[in-house]
């Protein structure tokens, strides 16, 4: 190279890579997959129940206590209201996390009420003589409703934990999204079960 000539700069300059948010946060994706498996679990229960219904001429079987349709209908509205409050909490959280406290607390309270009311109904049915072994109808009733009740309890525990995190200022949007998603599943599943089991 001749003296005095500068060497051309042949390095390739790449533009800075575009930063892209993940399509779905890991917590939400994991919850979605979990919900998918739960849908299949309850679909299996409902399918088995639908077949069992065809095995007896009268359903629910004669001589058994009737299920509390009206009271459970009211409880269904309570759970739906809890879901609506959770939707509202999600919107408020997007604006200002602090603003989500009240609707979140309301959703928790209604969820706890739902479980306690279900427990009260179960106690009444058990005292009226409807046990797990009474018939296939009662076995399915306790299995399906009980499994859903366990999910409500689990969802309530998650929301309570997230509420504590929110008060401490530690609740991330992704985590809250995942928790809400599970709660929506629990809430929206119940009317289907109510229709199948009670009506």
């Amino acid at each position: 190279m001749a003296y005095g000539m500068s060497e051309p700069d042949l390095r390739i300059v790449h533009p800075p890579p575009r930063e892209r948010k993940p399509v779905v946060p890991n917590a939400v994706l994991g919850t979605m997959i979990f919900i998918l498996t739960e849908c299949m679990l309850f679909a299996g229960f409902i399918s088995a129940y639908a077949i069992a219904r065809t095995n007896v001429p009268v359903w629910p079987p004669a001589g058994q206590p009737r299920l509390p349709i009206e009271a459970t209908g009211f409880n269904t509205l309570v759970l739906l209201a809890s879901g609506a409050l959770m939707v509202y909490a999600g919107r408020r959280f997007a604006e200002a996390p602090e603003a989500a406290k009240r609707p979140m607390l309301g959703a928790v309270a209604l969820g706890v009420f739902f479980v306690l009311f279900q427990g009260y109904e179960w106690a009444n049915l058990l005292s009226a003589g409807l046990g797990l072994r009474t018939s296939s109808h009662s076995a399915f009733f306790y299995l399906i409703v009980g499994m859903h009740g366990l999910h409500v309890l689990g969802g309530t525990a998650v929301i309570v934990r997230q509420f504590v995190q929110l008060r401490a200022g530690d609740l991330s949007g992704d985590s809250f999204w995942a928790g809400r998603l599970f709660w929506y599943f629990v809430v929206l599943l119940w009317p289907v079960l109510y229709w199948q089991v009670y009506l």
């Binding site: 892209r20 399509v23 998918l36 088995a48 129940y49 076995a139 299995l143």
Partner: protein, 64 residues
């Protein structure tokens, strides 16, 4: 031990949908309906989830 546990658990509930099945038209139709339901449900769930993810992946507002 596990065998004894299974024996005890199965004695608790009368939930077996197929053991007590009768060969009438209603039961046969219920088996067909639930087979279709259980076959299509996972396909719908996975397909719906995949479509939702694909739409989100192609959403320009997600690009910072």
């Amino acid at each position: 031990m596990s065998g004894a546990g299974l024996w005890l658990l199965t004695a608790v509930a009368w939930g077996c949908a197929v053991c007590g099945g009768q060969d009438d038209e209603d039961t046969r139709q219920a088996f067909i309906d639930t087979t279709i339901f259980l076959s299509l449900l996972p396909l719908g769930l996975i397909g719906g989830g995949a479509l939702w993810l694909w739409r989100r992946a192609n959403d320009p507002s997600l690009t910072a």
